[in-house]
Structures are given as C-alpha cells and as structure tokens.
Amino acid sequence: MNRDELDHLLRSLRVPEATEEFREALPGSVFSAITRGEGAHKTRRLTLGFAAAAACGLLIGFLLWHRPLSYERQAAAMEDGRTLHDLLTRYPGRLQAIIQDATGLHTQVSDRGEVSTSNPVWLEIKDGSDQQVVVTFSGQRIRCEGHDVVVLTDTSGDVMLVGDGFFWSRGATVGVAGTVQIRAGKISQTRDHSPVSL
C-alpha cells in the first residue's frame, strides 16, 4: 500500500459528532467540575496546611528532644561519664581527652590505639567567664591555662595536674593564677550509662 492509498484509507475514519446533549451540557459540566475542583483544592490546601503544621510541630518536638545539650547539661554528662562512655565506643583505645568549652565539644584522639583508659577523670577549669570541662585519663597530657600539664591520680583517687612550674591538687597549688578555679574528680566506670546526644 503506497502512501496516498494509506492516507486515503486513514481519512475514511469517520468521527462521530458530539451529541447535541453533550455540546449543550459541556460548559455547565466544565463549570461545575472547576468549582467542585476549586472546593476540593481549597480543602486539600487546608488539609495540607494542617498536615504541614503538624509535621512542623513534630519536627520541633523531635529537635527539642534531641537538641544539642546545653553547656550545663553537657558538662554534667561529661562529669558523670556518659559522654566518655559514648566516645570510648567510637574511639576504642584512642581517646585521649574530651574538651567541652564555649565553642562546643572537642576530642583529642591518638593515632595509635594504645591509650590507657583505666583511670578516667573529669576536670572543670574556670577563669572568669571562660570555663571548660575536660574528661581524660590518668597519665594523659592536656593544656590547662596555657600550661602543658600531665593529669595524674593518687592512690586515694585524687587528681593532680603537674606541669613545668605548675601544680594543682585539691589541697595545694603552685603557679595557678588566683582567678582560676579548678575542680576535679574520678569518673566511676561501673555505672550504667544511658546514651547522651553529642
């Protein structure tokens, strides 16, 4: 079949005329579909609005629940060992210190997995409005008020900070500025830690 023959045959397709009834009813049916649709659209928009508001509420609730801990809460988590527990599982044998200051939570991690974690301690160092909480282990070296110090614990569990011209313990201090307040203590490793958001 050549092209002309095919076109001729194709043009034999008869298109039924739309019925008079359909033609007359069409504008009205379009109008009612549009108004119905607009009503549905408004309802849908309203429903979507409520759904979006509910979703926002849930999101805010979730964020509040899982919000980054405030300094005080984070410091408490540092002191009672929850932060340590979480980070130790993340950096087994490599975690040297965790430092919480005004800028947030920082970690000091060794390249080698040989850090002894047998005697964990916490330190709170305040100098005026500056304050930081440090969690580390006996024998680790940290920076304290501009001094490079080693953290040690004695047999009774008291913490000492020993550096070049710097000494601090609960009973005695050498080279520590009068504005500086330090608190320190051992962290119990036997307690059951609940997870903490970092």
Binding site: M1, F22, S29, V30, I34
Partner: protein, 186 residues
C-alpha cells in the same frame, strides 16, 4: 482575501477579548470559548482515543485544564493552538479506565449501528490507530487529519522535526501492515 484577513483578525480580536474576560472570572466568556472550540477538541480526542466516551471525557478535561491554566496563556499563539496542545497532551497521557475500555466497543457498535452507511474501513482504521503508540498516533492525527506540516506538528508536540518524521514513518509502516489486504490483526 483582504476581507477574509479582516474577518480572521476580528475573530482573533474577539477571541482575545473572550480570553481576557475569562481570565477575569467572566464565566460566560469562557463558556463562549468552549462552544467555539468543542468540536475541534472532540474530533481530536476521538481520533486519539478511538472512543466516544473517552472523547467526551477528554474534551471536558481539556477545558478544565485550559481554564485553570489561563494565566499561563501569554497570547503569543492562537488560543485554539494552545487549547489543541493541552488536548493532545491529555490524550497522550490518557489512561483509559477499565470500564471505559470495556464500553468502548459497545459504544462504537452503537455508533456504527446509527450510521446510514456503516463502513468497515472506518472501523479498521480506528482499530489500527489505537494499535499505535500514543505519540505515533498523535503524529498521524496532526499531519493526516489536521493537515499540519511536519514542522507545525513537531511544534505542537514539542519535539524535533526529525523526531516527528521518524514517528510518522514508523506509524505509516505499522498502519500499512495492519491495514493491508483489507484485514486487521493488531
């Protein structure tokens, strides 16, 4: 010729005014646009769907879409061309409902029965067209039935002219095979 141009321009101006009034929520103006173009859209919808029922639904859908999209009609093409594109896109995407599918043949049989001289060629052509992929069918409808050039049809379908030509070539080859020897075997 000059009179014809003048009449066309007046018609276009009138259409422009109807569109503008429709945009402003004048329902009577849009109803007038529907009345002016419903036959064109219905014919296209029937050729594309092969079913009177579907053609009616598609015609209605076209005007609903057109009304909702009036704001996007910039007037740089004729309103009828814009409407035609909406209808064609709807036809290409049209998914027949099962019930309509079942009723299509019944509807066609009723239509045939109502004709003074029912011709079997028409029915064969309708079935052959339905056996084509929608985009090939659209290419045939635009060029064979509406007399558009390949470039015009390509513009309506939003494809390259070469693509349109290829679709048409493939459609003709398939239709020839389907319609040859007076038989039809999709």
């Amino acid at each position: 010729m000059a009179v014809s141009n003048l009449v066309n321009r007046m018609a276009t101006d009138d259409e422009g005014s109807l569109v503008a009034r429709s945009r402003n929520g004048d329902w009577q103006a849009f109803a007038e646009l529907i009345r002016n173009h419903q036959n064109m859209i219905h014919s296209l919808a029937f050729r594309m769907s092969g079913s009177s029922g579907d053609a009616q639904d598609l015609t209605q859908e076209t005007f609903i879409h057109a009304y909702r999209g009036l704001a996007s009609y910039r007037g740089d093409s004729k309103f009828s061309s814009w409407l035609y594109r909406i209808a064609l896109n709807l036809c290409i995407r049209w998914r027949k409902r099962e019930e309509q599918r079942r009723n299509a043949h019944i509807g066609w049989a009723e239509f045939e029965a109502n004709q003074a001289n029912p011709g079997s060629d028409s029915e064969r052509v309708r079935e052959a067209l339905q056996a084509l992929p929608p985009k090939q069918r659209a290419a045939v409808v635009l060029t064979v039935y509406d007399g558009m050039t390949h470039a015009e049809a390509a513009a309506v379908l939003g494809c390259a002219e070469a693509t349109l030509s290829w679709r048409l070539f493939a459609a003709r080859r398939r239709l020839s095979a389907l319609l040859k020897d007076g038989g039809f075997s999709p």
